[in-house]
Symmetry: C2
Subunit: 737 residues, 2 copies
């Protein structure tokens, strides 16, 4: 297997936020930003913990927690501190790299001092075999004799966006515990093992920091430094993790490193995607796969992936529809166990969803737009800051983006179809689906006296569709279709329930209720408004969309008075125009491609693409998918690259309405993966066709011209297959394990 | 009868806009701002024409037209120009006054020149007996011999807000005709008649201005100058006016002056309101009556009064609910003929209202929020400018302020009840009412599956109530109640139709349609949502209002970053809070006072008053009215004074979201009048009580403590009465004419 290394040469302080994201390591339990070891909170280092949240005060947003940072190191040579960015004028060489084939982050910096060169080399990784473990090797070499001290700390002064979260600290010799107001705590423990000519070591703990100063008598060209194995624990590990772990200081750095290498070697054996003829695309896609893997909550019973992965508190560390609609497919097709963990997170979130629906005046389950533990809604009703007044602006993401519940159901459907495993239904999935159906039923309204000459229809009013720039619209095509899908799929699983009745679902003892629902849904579905279509076959995104100003993205952009302005909301530049943030109608077409003629899909691509700002990383992949479905792989190719390279390329948009939205883009990686398998390879799940022993799938490949072949593994309905696809041929075989 | 003179002493250039409004003269056909004669367009002089509109370009708003200004005068003494504001450093005395008892505007300015004092005195008025006529006397006296020239012009370079409207000019010796793109034209003709030691006169016309330079050889202390009788004509006079008039240069200034004085003498004989014990209140209320009288469209067949009267193009010279809800009562009770002209304007507007409803997706009649001729909607969907970006902001005044149609019906109801005249029903009024009912029927929606435990109700969603700061709300208490009122009143007039069938109404030939409507309305009314009430009896303004931030007006004001910011819309300071622009629930309570206990009214006054910014001049009078109904006349008194003095006091708010909103406030004058008769005097229309010869009204007076008595005339059901009310006694007698 190839080695893939992502690299940046030369020190570039400006890009610290971007590199923190690009060089992320992690293991699903936590993510560690690719920041320099000596960086303090200002430069946004983070050991971001999955699924552990806190709200610092009622004025501030809830968000995920960052653990005390065990990688914090400061170096002195002959009394002079050498650190970035302070000593950047002394840097003669700097390189930061990530070997995704081994899951190891490496750094090398050479400082030129008055006496000569000092080389700092670090190597670090997050344990894939020990979920609570992090490891660092910090090595220094000077090309002259010197006296050096290395301060190795666990820094409790963490970077917080809506913090500080820790109001109390327990600092001990080798650990820092940060404790939140509500009692939730995160503890980092770490022991350094020095190497080289050590003089001595002394403890120098501070209020929030446990640290040791290690002195060295360093000979010319002799390496010195330390290795460090750290452990992170939280007060809710018992609740979240399958097998919670304790610190184990007997675990050696080298042992862990060997295990790490073996894990990734095994992983890539089965997960590497080969794209013959396009190294750039191959690198980007495998980087996407790496990135999804390091945030997969394999350690947990039921947990999901935040919209910005584990790259920090951006977007509150909350789980969005990104997981269910964009990332889930990768896990379903490669790691169904993790896919089920993601779905079980939604089962656990039903409680919060029922409460939210009730709070907002509806029945059933209205899932959190920004989900925290137990489905708690983290989305503020004021989610954007007016850049000119500094005031929070009322937004409608949480209370009007009602399509979120349908994404959960859509996720369950995909899982069941592609894995063939219906167990999730009997572990709470039935309840999720039925309650989502109840929710959409309670959203349906009807005019008592429709406009003369028009039929009486069931409408869904006052929503926000995927295109968030247009708030509070009526009959969003995507939302209406997805609501109908929920009804349709509910009918399907009700039939399934009859066949496979088990006793786990609390709803099943009441067949008459389910029958009522079934009959009700059958009556309602035909009366629902789908969407309006113009003479060219273009579907109107929502009522009145075609009446909005029809103007180019560039013109709309030129109306900005400040690049940080929010485009949406009623004062935003996009709002009065047809310019949309992201794929909306196109996402609907991609989801329901079998219902539409290619001409219709093309007409909508042609219409909407030039009107899309692609202000969301969820946009390009949906356009790309639909372009593939229309047999235009070369048109789709740039969309694929854009999606897969989202965090490799220079960052585009770090601000929206005054809010920092940097961080990684897992949905975009997942979208790139979907483009590969559903788009270019043309993987299709065929409803009816079933032949013995073979899974009911097929391929209808459309490769970009310059690609020779693609090869990848897939797990379908419990069996592993390997596919190799060229322009002319599909080879698809079961892999015996 | 007393003389009431409004006066300002000392020249104050800053206040030119305010004084232009305060010293307005007019006659219903046109209003003339109280600007100095020498003012050019920059200082906003205007001869604002009623009911004549134009749109200069598709980028600009439609608005009423200003006629070429015949009062334009410039003065030179010994070659030196004396004019304001240029010569303001030479002003030793300045006084501007308006004798409302005679309808005459007077000005006196003394300039000190190197040689002595020059006194300019002017007198001007708008003909109440000749609707197209304006008159000016311009008189100069110097206390030394001098040579003088007076340039007397008709200035076609008019002040326009969304102009220029005139694209062509026809300038002749004594007239200027301005012609719009669409062919509509306005012509002003005027002849000056010089007096004093004239040397000669010569024509000096310019492209847009007809002017004569008159030279004088002026002796010390001898007056010289000119009188000027001017006539305004428009190309649509035939359509608008009962008796269109032509210029008549035989009409002498002095003759017109005598007629003017007699008109106002007769007028005040029957319309003066005496408030014994409070000269300030008496002056303000009679100023309000004067102000309503000079904008009453007595000359017209069917015409209404713009929200800013005839004080300029502010608010586009458009007609709002202000007329029907606030001003109409004064005319009903004093000049029913004019009241009917105002209602017939709405009958003519039905065409536009049907078109608007159709355009917006509804049935029936959706009246224009800002009405121009034939009910054309002048309200832009972008009615506010974001002060920080300079961009137009999408507002929902025209498409969501659906309560406008109910105001029209409410106006018709008041007219019929208080005049006893049902003729308007048979001149199109029936159609208006039934189409408004159809409109509200088509607004009703219902949830297919209401929230569990809640009854299925008919709702009106997505509206803007009187409080415009909160856009797009659901179930606004005022709107819902008014819609129900329209249904109720429709049932009443359908019964009336049966009794008094005449052949004029196109609907009457179809009794079965009306029967269907009747049965439908009867079924629907009980299922309508009225409003939610909390434990204290406070009615929730709209769904979710009580959940908004509860904070004081001062705190909200302190959040402004610019005093010109718009408080409403989703980026405005008031939007996320309970702070409202104006009476909303309170207006509803005032309109339907007989349905509520006093305790409920009080609870709502106590709750809403501190939460009201009173950012609209329609607010104070509604609070005042309800306070009177609660028996609190002394609490109500400041509201009364605020309403009556709205244009006498210093101007409060000249800008809203970057839009100039100065100009006069007729609705506030009408509101003050309503407070007097309905509030303090307690005039009540009693539905059932009828005794022979007596009108079915009664008085339940609550005078402010310091008032001794009030006396006024009223016309009720065709008869004129005089009322004198003290704290202890009501005397109410018919006046034989």
């Amino acid at each position: 297997m190839k080695e893939i290394i992502i690299k940046e040469v030369n020190y570039d302080e400006e890009n610290y936020a971007h590199f923190g994201t690009k060089f992320l390591i992690g293991n699903g339990y936590m993510g560690v930003r690719g920041s320099m070891e000596e960086y303090g909170a200002k430069h946004m280092p983070a050991v971001n913990i999955a699924g552990v949240y806190n709200q610092a005060s009622s004025e501030k947003w809830r968000e995920s927690l960052n653990a005390p940072n065990p990688f914090f190191i400061r170096l002195k040579i002959d009394g002079e501190e050498l650190s970035l960015p302070n000593s950047s004028d002394k840097v003669v060489f700097h390189e930061q790299s990530l070997d995704i084939t081994k899951g190891i982050h490496v750094r090398k910096t050479i400082f030129k001092t008055a006496k000569g060169n000092v080389t700092v080399e670090t190597e670090r990784f997050a344990g894939m075999t020990h979920f609570n473990a992090l490891a660092l090797k910090y090595s220094v070499t000077a090309d002259y004799d010197c006296v050096s001290s290395i301060t190795s700390g666990i820094d409790g002064e963490v970077w917080d966006i809506n913090g500080p979260h820790f109001v109390n600290f327990e600092v001990e010799e080798n650990s820092v515990k940060g404790i939140c107001e509500n009692g939730v705590s995160v503890m980092t423990s770490a022991k350094g093992v020095p190497f080289g000519d050590m003089i001595g070591t002394k403890s120098a703990n501070e209020e929030k920091t446990a640290q040791n100063i290690i002195s060295f008598n360093a000979k010319k060209d002799a390496a010195f430094g330390l290795t460090k194995v750290a452990f992170v624990q939280t007060s809710i590990d018992e609740k979240i993790s399958k097998e919670p772990q304790k610190p184990n200081f007997l675990l050696k750095y080298d042992t862990l490193l060997e295990e790490q290498k073996q894990y990734w070697k095994d992983f890539w054996q089965e997960n590497f995607v080969e794209i013959e003829g396009d190294e750039k695309a191959e690198t980007a896609l495998n980087y996407s796969i790496y990135s999804l893997q390091i945030i997969a909550p394999r350690h947990a019973n039921a947990l999901s992936i935040p919209a910005r992965g584990l790259s920090g508190q951006v977007y509150k560390g909350a789980v969005f529809w990104d997981t269910d609609m964009f990332m889930l497919d990768y896990f379903i097709l490669n790691d169904p166990e993790t896919a089920k963990i993601l779905l079980k997170y939604r089962v656990d979130g039903l409680k919060g969803a029922l409460e939210k629906a009730d709070r907002e005046g509806y029945n059933g389950a209205f899932y959190a737009w920004e989900s925290h533990e137990d489905g708690i809604e983290a989305c503020s009703k004021f989610n954007v800051t007016d850049i000119f007044t500094g005031r929070a602006v009322r937004t409608y993401f949480d209370d009007k983006q009602v399509h979120i519940s349908s994404a959960i159901v859509y996720g369950i459907k995909k899982y069941i179809k592609l894995t063939g495993d219906t167990s999730i239904l009997f572990e709470g999935g039935f309840d999720v689906i039925v309650e989502c159906a109840n929710f959409y039923l309670s959203l349906l309204t009807s005019r008592v006296f429709p406009k003369m000459g028009e039929p009486r229809k069931l409408e869904i009013l006052d929503v926000v569709g995927p295109d968030e720039y247009h708030e509070r619209v009526n009959n969003n095509a995507y939302t209406n279709r997805m609501a109908k899908f929920v009804f349709e799929f509910t009918l399907e699983v009700l039939d399934l329930a009859k066949k496979e009745t088990k006793k786990d679902s609390p709803l099943l003892p009441f067949p008459e209720v389910l029958n009522d629902l079934k009959n009700g849904l059958k009556k309602i579905i035909p009366d629902m408004i789908d969407f309006a279509v113009n003479d060219e076959g273009v579907i109107e995104q929502f009522d009145g969309y075609f009446d909005l100003e029809d103007v180019s993205v560039d013109v709309v952009r030129s109306r900005l008075k400040d690049p940080r302005e929010y485009w949406g909301g009623s004062n935003g530049v996009a709002y009065p125009t047809q310019i949309i943030k992201q794929a909306d109608v196109v996402t609907m077409l991609a989801m329901f491609k079998d219902e539409f003629e290619k001409e219709i899909m093309k007409a909508n691509l042609d219409y909407y693409e030039p009107r899309t700002e692609h202000g969301s990383s969820l946009s390009a992949c949906m356009y790309g998918l639909l372009q593939c479905f229309c047999g235009m792989p070369d048109t789709a190719y740039p969309m694929f690259l854009k999606s897969a390279e989202v965090d490799l390329a220079a960052p585009k948009k770090l601000w929206a309405g005054g809010i920092y939205i940097g961080g990684s883009h897992p949905a975009s990686w997942g979208g790139a993966y979907q483009m590969l398998v559903y788009g270019f390879a043309g993987l299709k799940h065929n409803k009816d066709q079933k032949s013995k022993g073979k899974p009911n799938i097929s391929f209808d490949p459309h490769l970009p011209k310059h690609w020779k072949s693609i090869s990848f593994h897939l797990t379908i309905q419990g069996k592993k297959y390997k596919a190799k696809i060229t322009h002319k041929k599909v080879v698809f075989d079961e892999v015996k394990i």
